[in-house]
């Protein structure tokens, strides 16, 4: 029953967001063909009214809005996200082209910042009140106060320009030919270092603080005392008893911030010319590319709902109490 409720709830949320996402771009002034006539670009692409109408018809934008809405919903059910007007390609293809890079970037940074944040948070809590804790706390609070784009710029200046250690443009060397199969992997990793570091630094504070607080709470729990009374070693208690319990809120938080993690890369993408979903969204807004905008929102929503679902599942595995409720 609980599961069904949850599903109904997710479904309702999806429906609401899909609708917002259909109507919002359409109430904004301008239409997808505006970009075709943007004289602010470095070239006039002139379009006659006749051609405008032809294109509106071609993209089905001349139909009544209710009809568009229905065909949009039907399309989604069939897994057809439509055709991106600006990119002239299937929306799914456009999104997937960017998604791999976003996932690489977000995935790498999350794979580093979550464990590292947990580790540091636990360390800090374990050493509560000692110099180590204070030092960690102040330094992590400090680096977390850097907006990601500012941090990225500083990294570019120092490691990209001054020291010339890392590339600062893009996700890989453009169409380089590699001497070994690992060349490409290394090249991609090399390009990944600075953007991923930026994301790790700007996200680690959240995980760290939550973990520290959660751990402090757990360390105050009676069962930790019980474990100590059994003569278990501090390390063992930390790993076997405290960590598991302290991780529970981290799981929830990480899931809740998935949307932010994915979209937050837009700043890093801008600074490092990294291809990703953030810039895609920005362009989709500028070009009023309705199908693409809808596609990105759908994807984001699914990612968020999916992450919550996964978090729920993991939570059940981690916390036996939830299962029986």
């Amino acid at each position: 029953m609980h599961q069904i409720n949850k599903l109904v709830y997710y479904f309702a949320i999806l429906l609401i967001i899909l609708s917002i996402n259909f109507f919002l771009p359409r109430v904004m002034p301008g239409d997808p063909l505006s970009y075709l006539s943007d004289p602010g670009a470095d070239m006039p692409a002139r379009m006659t009214e006749e051609k405008r109408e032809l294109l509106l018809e071609y993209y089905g934008l001349d139909k009544p809005i209710s009809e568009q809405y229905i065909s949009y919903m039907v399309g989604i059910i069939h897994g057809d996200l439509g055709w991106s007007i600006y990119y002239g390609a299937p929306v799914l293809e456009v999104i997937l082209g960017r998604l791999k890079w976003t996932l690489l970037l977000v995935g790498t940074s999350t794979a580093i910042h979550v464990p590292l944040g947990i580790l540091l948070g636990a360390t800090s809590a374990w050493a509560r009140g000692k110099k180590k804790d204070t030092g960690l706390l102040i330094s992590i609070l400090s680096i977390s106060s850097f907006p990601s784009f500012f941090l990225g710029i500083l990294l570019v200046i120092f490691f990209g320009i001054k020291l010339d250690l890392f590339p600062i443009n893009g996700a890989q060397t453009a169409f380089a030919t590699y001497s070994s199969p690992f060349g490409k992997i290394f090249d991609i990793l090399h390009h990944l270092v600075l953007p991923a570091t930026t994301l790790v630094i700007s996200h680690i504070g959240g995980t760290y603080l939550l973990m520290r607080n959660s751990m402090l709470g757990v360390l105050g729990e009676d069962y930790i005392m019980t474990a100590r009374a059994k003569g278990l070693s501090e390390q063992y208690i930390l790993h076997r008893h405290a960590l598991m319990n302290a991780l529970l809120p981290i799981v929830t938080m990480t899931a809740m911030t998935v949307g932010f993690l994915i979209m937050g890369t837009i700043f890093v993408e801008t600074v490092f010319a990294y291809p990703g979903i953030g810039n895609l969204l920005y362009n989709a807004v500028l070009y009023r590319d309705y199908p693409l905008l809808q596609g990105i929102f759908l994807f984001m929503t699914i990612a968020i709902v999916g992450a919550n679902f996964i978090a729920d599942t993991i939570y059940v595995r981690l916390d036996p109490r939830v299962k029986n409720e």
Partner: protein, 593 residues
């Protein structure tokens, strides 16, 4: 704990370092081919679409990337129109029938010969798929196309088109019939076949996400030897540093980016070429809405805007105050006699006073006269996209001194376009490119769509079909004067352009006469990749001794050339030829005077 962090950090660094070493090796390995890399744009702005004629994004850079693969009948170099797929051409007296003699050596990338059938097919295909070629609607002028023989084709127009050689022959990419005849929806056709053209480059790879294009040279090109093996256009986060760190070999700057250009001036590793942008920034007035519907009011505003200051403060002198008649000073259409509204607040005040706009409540802002459509302080919104905030701020300050209050509102182009379309605005700042071609002055395509003047419209229509260049120029001059006097738009400035490049990699960069195609102010003209015809020592000049055969020479014969035919045997007497101008690049026409 500290140990763990340290180990992690070291790990990161070592991966990075080994990667950099490996990547370095790879780059060295890759340079056995001669590769040219250019900065295609900044994040989100370096993807210009799949470079088929129907899927590139209809912007200058998109067209330029497509035009490397697809040739047109004619093309342009630094001096003007040159032959491309057509070796030569002639036009009938009424200007309606154009005969093109096609290059016999031209081949499609798949080896098939290019023939007159392809030309006929191209125009018919575009007619059948109206709206498909978003870039330019070429077909409305064309009546029919006749194939005379495999290498001769006649294009019949319904009305004469004065700019036919540039706007249509030099703009419409030729399609291979054997590929496109089976394609029903060109907007979705993105196979490898969709990029088979006759051009000097072949597409190797394209990635929309990263905005990277990779081309390889078409070494079988019919129109000259290629100087490079590969060409890459890629996204960079910062153009100046990308050039400096060697991520790219060529970047382009414009306008206020002169500051970046200056940093390269003293650098011996780089060379700089300057060129015109054929672009203007203008304030668009709503000629249908009070108070901007009053011509004199608009003139007062024009006097009240200090364009020199905008050029010096915002552009850092990387441009010039604009021709109030719109056409770019470097174009042949430029009318130097348009009213120039020299900055003069006294004149502006006088006009406003005489119109009854007086500051009655003493708050420093003029008031609308009693009984007018609006009342209270003169205040209205100035819309701009984020790009021109700086200019808007200056205008706001300038107009405040003549007692007009402006609220700067920024919005994206989609929104502003909506306002323009519905004539729901007071003033908009917006740019306009391609001002080397009178076609941009057509209303209502032009953003000044609220301007209504039947004389203007008829003059425009007249110049469109006027085949005599001088007469046409005169008509275009009149159009410019009307714009300058009536001020449906008030032009602000023309920025300059620069390309900064590493001459060791490629040193043939140049700016095209009146812009690539219909006025793209880019240095990315396919001719930069071609060795100049007969230029054995590659010094950029043709070696006459290398010219062994001239297949066909085209002379623009007029009355004066006849005079060189002293013995009147119908042939020119070479001793009368005082000057031979050889146009560089490709197989250039030899002009005689």
């Amino acid at each position: 704990m500290k140990k763990t962090v340290l180990i992690l950090a070291v790990l990161l660094c070592s991966v990075a370092f080994s990667a950099s070493v490996l990547a370095e090796n790879d780059r060295v390995a890759a340079t056995s081919d001669k590769t040219v890399r250019m900065a295609g744009g900044t994040p989100g702005g370096s993807d210009w679409g799949y470079p088929s004629p129907f899927t590139f994004y209809p912007r200058g850079p998109g067209y330029a990337r497509m035009s490397l693969l697809f040739d047109t009948l004619t093309w342009k170099d630094a001096n003007g129109v040159i032959p491309a797929l057509a070796d030569g051409w002639k036009v009938s007296d009424d200007g309606k029938d154009w005969t093109f003699y096609l290059d016999r050596n031209a081949r499609w990338h798949d080896g098939t010969s290019f023939t007159a059938d392809d030309v006929k097919f191209t125009f018919e295909y575009m007619k059948d798929h109206k709206g498909g070629f978003k870039w330019f609607d070429a077909t409305s002028y064309i009546d029919s196309v006749d194939v005379v023989d495999a290498h001769t084709v006649v294009i019949h127009l319904s009305d004469p088109v004065a700019s036919f050689l540039v706007d249509i022959a030099g703009n419409v990419p030729m399609l291979p019939e054997h590929i496109w005849k089976d394609v029903s929806d060109p907007l979705t056709f993105k196979d490898d076949d969709a990029v088979i053209g006759t051009g000097p480059m072949k597409l190797v790879d394209y990635d929309s996400a990263t905005g990277v294009y990779q081309y390889e040279a078409n070494h079988d090109y019919y129109d000259g030897k290629l100087l490079v093996d590969k060409f890459i256009s890629r996204e960079v986060s910062d153009t100046a540093s990308a050039l400096q760190t060697g991520d790219v070999d060529e970047v382009s700057f414009w306008g206020s980016e002169i500051t970046a250009v200056q940093t390269f001036e003293s650098d011996p590793d780089f060379e700089i070429k300057a060129g015109p942008s054929f672009w203007v920034l203008q304030t668009i007035f709503n000629c249908e809405k009070y108070p901007n519907n009053d011509r004199e009011f608009r003139q007062a505003i024009a006097y009240g805007i200090d364009r020199d200051k905008i050029v010096s403060q915002v552009l850092h002198d990387g441009g010039e105050p604009a021709n109030t008649g719109i056409m770019h000073p470097d174009s042949i259409w430029y009318n130097p006699d348009c009213t120039a509204y020299e900055y003069d607040t006294d004149t502006a005040d006088e006009i406003l006073d005489s119109l009854g706009f007086v500051d009655t409540d003493g708050n420093g802002i003029r008031n609308y006269p009693d009984g007018a459509e609006r009342s209270g302080d003169i205040t209205f919104d100035l819309y701009t996209t984020g790009k021109y905030n700086r200019e808007a701020e200056l205008i706001q300050a300038d107009l405040a001194t003549i007692g007009i209050k402006i609220n700067v509102k920024t919005s994206d182009w989609g929104t502003i376009d909506g306002y323009l379309r519905s004539a729901n605005f007071d003033m908009v700042i917006s740019g306009h490119g391609g001002i080397a071609n009178p076609q941009i002055m057509r209303i209502p395509d032009w953003p000044a769509s609220t301007y209504q003047n039947s004389e203007y419209d008829s003059t425009y229509a007249a110049q469109e079909v006027e085949m005599d260049l001088d007469t046409r120029k005169e008509l275009v001059n009149q159009l410019q004067e009307m714009v300058a006097d009536d001020l449906p738009v008030y032009t602000l400035y023309h920025p300059y352009m620069w390309c900064v490049y590493d001459p060791k990699v490629l040193d043939t960069w140049f700016y095209t006469r009146d812009g690539v195609s219909i006025g793209i102010p880019l240095e990315l003209n396919k001719l930069v990749f071609l060795a100049r015809y007969g230029d054995a020592n590659e010094n950029g000049k043709i070696n006459m001794q290398d010219v062994t055969k001239i297949e066909r020479m085209i002379l623009e014969l007029d009355d004066e050339t006849d005079m060189a035919d002293a013995n009147q045997n119908g042939k020119i007497n070479m001793q009368d030829v005082t000057h031979v101008e050889l146009t560089i690049l490709g197989r250039a026409p030899i002009r005689t005077r």
